[in-house]
């Protein structure tokens, strides 16, 4: 123990000594090294669901017609402006002039048409092809205009266009984007050492404001200890979402670093098989809801406060309502509800857990809380492919724990055959109505109803929003605190 303390003291001294030169060097620095936990499997955001692909490429290499800013608002991007006709189905986009791809292909309406038609083609592997399904026809009256006609009014059509799955690609380069991506973004692909790092360089032909940084390196490190060491050693300038929450106090104490705890769109839920007895009984689900002490759960997993949720909705969205008190923590009431449902002595069930560390840690705590009211959940850890096969596809489960990270995905509860097995015509109707309601105030009112319905029906155990733990060199400005969309726009970074 003494050795360790001495070591840490030594580290502190070294840090002090390093302080001055670091500040002096920062003036000249025009590159950044950013670490993230997962490596993207490919670099084409239109052909895979891995979040890591979007984190690296979206708004850096590739751009869409619109983009989401750090507050979750839509901003113009490759479309300079747009109008929606009174029929609510005709969208006219005025395209950015002078934008070009990294291989010098000029950006025109032609590529927009190509990209969207490619996304819905029969052989398309676009993970979000439903975004483009409402499109009836795409017209290109001139190179700077795209007119998209939808089959029916679609409220979130524009919103979906800001996702990585809707970036604009060029016919000549699209096939190779998986390994050598060519986009219109402020940074172009330089080199990829698989398993370790990806290097990007500023694109000098960029249509927009010139980024402050000339070079950027994304480093991929999955081991939480390795992440902390790399940050403390100064090997990396920032980490987009640290996998070691227990290291937060230690990193916060380091004056060279800046730590922020932000929000993501990751609703973390105790997924419940609503079609399988006894979970098809509302009283049983309500009992579970009353047994989940969310505050303790979140603190146990993270050691600091995170945003608790009472329904499947992120507090980042303006339509969010706080429903955490629908079924407050009350083990006595939970037991009474179980008895009413015919289980005075509780019952046995399984809790299948996917690999992410939050799920494994949560599993232990949730099982302990359920045991307090007599529900004995046997924990079964699964690898992710097995989880997908057994829990997600075959619905062969009682309870599970996972974060749903797609933004605005409350509609999954209205899907046929989705693994929660929640079958409620009224909710389906509500979601269908939301999909075609364009005025924002009206739509948000409907979203509120939808949230309340899910909370009341205790479809799942709603726990908390996955936090985004950003750690950055104190002199680095512009890292996103929240993740309305999981991206790390390099053009917004600069050294102070």
């Amino acid at each position: 123990m003494t050795t360790r303390r001495e070591l840490l003291a030594g580290a502190g001294l070294a840090a002090l000594a390093a302080q001055l030169p670091v500040v002096a060097l920062a003036q000249a620095k025009d590159s950044v090294t950013i670490a993230q936990t997962l490596e993207p499997p490919t670099l084409d955001p239109t052909s895979g669901a891995a979040q890591a692909i979007r984190e690296v490429t979206l708004q850096n290499i590739f751009e869409g017609l619109v983009k989401m800013d750090r507050t979750g608002k839509l901003q113009p991007c490759l479309a300079e402006s747009w109008t929606i006709a009174d029929d609510n189905v005709t969208y006219s986009f005025k395209l950015r002039q002078g934008a070009r791809f990294h291989d010098d292909t000029p950006f025109t309406a032609e590529q927009v048409k190509f990209s969207f038609e490619r996304a819905v083609a029969p052989d398309s592997t676009n993970a979000q092809r439903q975004l483009f399904a409402p499109i009836a026809e795409i017209a290109t009256p001139d190179p700077a205009t795209v007119v998209i006609k939808l089959k029916q009014p679609t409220a979130n059509f524009l919103y979906g266009l800001s996702w990585g799955d809707a970036v604009i690609v060029a016919p000549a380069s699209a096939a190779n984007n998986k390994t050598s991506p060519v986009g219109t973004g402020p940074f172009k692909f330089l080199r990829w050492n698989r398993g370790d790092r990806l290097e990007l360089a500023r694109f000098d032909g960029y249509w927009g404001e010139k980024p402050a940084l000339a070079r950027a390196i994304f480093r991929f490190m999955s081991d939480p200890q390795a992440q902390v060491a790399a940050l403390r050693a100064g090997d990396v300038d920032a980490h987009t979402n640290l996998a070691a929450p227990e290291a937060v106090p230690q990193l916060k104490a380091d004056a060279r670093l800046k730590v922020t705890i932000g929000r993501t769109e990751g609703e973390t839920v105790l997924a419940t098989n609503n079609a399988k007895p006894p979970f098809d009984n509302l009283k049983v689900r309500q009992a579970i809801a009353h047994a989940l002490d969310r505050k303790t759960i979140a603190l146990g997993v993270y050691g600091f406060d995170v945003d608790l949720i009472g329904s499947h909705f992120s507090p980042l969205h303006p339509a969010y309502v706080d429903l955490t008190n629908t079924y407050p923590y009350d083990p006595a009431k939970a037991k009474a509800l179980l008895a009413e449902a015919g289980f005075p002595n509780g019952f046995n069930c399984t809790l299948k857990l996917p690999p992410p560390s939050y799920a494994r840690r949560l599993g232990e705590i949730v099982a302990a809380l359920l045991a307090q009211i007599g529900i004995n959940a046997a924990i079964e850890p699964l690898e992710f492919p097995q989880w997908l096969e057994r829990v997600f596809r075959n619905k062969d489960y009682d309870l599970s724990i996972i974060a749903h990270t797609e933004p605005l995905d409350i509609d999954i509860y209205a899907r046929d055959g989705y693994y929660f097995q929640y079958k409620d015509p009224a909710f389906k109707e509500l979601i269908a109505k939301i999909a075609v309601t364009l005025p924002e105030a009206e739509r948000n009112a409907l979203y509120k109803q939808a949230q309340e319905k899910l909370a009341r029906d205790a479809v799942n155990g709603f726990l908390f929003i996955l936090p985004k733990i950003t750690v950055a060199n104190a002199a680095l400005e512009g890292m996103w605190t929240d993740w309305p969309l999981p991206v790390t726009p390099l053009a917004e970074l600069r050294w102070r």
């Binding site: 070591l7 052989d123 979000q128 370790d196 790092r197 480093r219 050693a233 690898e383 096969e389 999954i412």
Partner: protein, 314 residues
Amino acid sequence: MIAYVLRRLLALVLTLLAAALVIFVVLEVLPGDPAAVTLGLNAAPEALAALRTEMGLDKPAALRFVLWLGGLVTGDLGLSYTYRVPVLQLIAERMAVTLPLSLMAIALATAIGIPLGMLAASRHGRLADAGVMAFAQAGLAIPNFWFGLLLVLVFAVGLGWLPAGGFPGWQAGFGTALKSLLMPALALALPQAAIIARVTRSSMLDTLQEDFVRTARAKGLSEGTTMRRHALRNALIPVVTILGLQFSVLIAGAIIIENVFALPGLGRLVFQAIAQHDLIVVKDLVMLFAGAAILINFAVELLYGLIDPRLRQA
């Protein structure tokens, strides 16, 4: 002799085939669809079907097995499901890290272990001997990932001399690349060095009892020269055998160390491929390891046959 070689060769081919079949079948019955893993929770069924076709998963299993075997023979290991690049290229990239790492670890282990073993043998029963034995005990007991973390804490976080992890690639310069391999190699080498020190010590102690050593001493050679010139060469034979055996242990240890230091080596590739359900990479790599083991075994059997003619009848 020719008949013997042919018989062994036939056995070799059959063993390889059997290994391939077992690997294929085992991975085939594993639950989980690689296409589903790639496309995630919200994927549309049409997109899934399209990706399955693209990956060749829609073909019957028997046909896929034959195609895979054909590919193995012609050196076409297929496309990685996740990375979408040829598996052969992936393996080559990773070899460029794992091979130098293992060689460095072996070199370090030898450079530390042999002199320590010799020192202990020459000071048999004295303080230095006890010290070396204590070091060896500790080296075997300390898990190498923990030692790796300790090294990082001292040399990367504390002193800032070495990078905490990662591999900049050989194109970043030989010295830079070597620097990032130093700590992981040392972490890997520690338990190896401990084993080598112990084997060297006991082998040296045995050799020092031999007549030729007594003769050398009688000739009036100094103790040091006796040890280096006469005893060491003979004492090294068991050490070399151990070194050979340890090479495969080293590769296995590299899986853990490569993860601690975020090194893009073969070990980490296996680890990632399993997690991401990149079954084609897992299949190819397991076949590669199995094939290497079978070939080494084959070579050993041939050598036995050469040494002992009686075995050729078997």
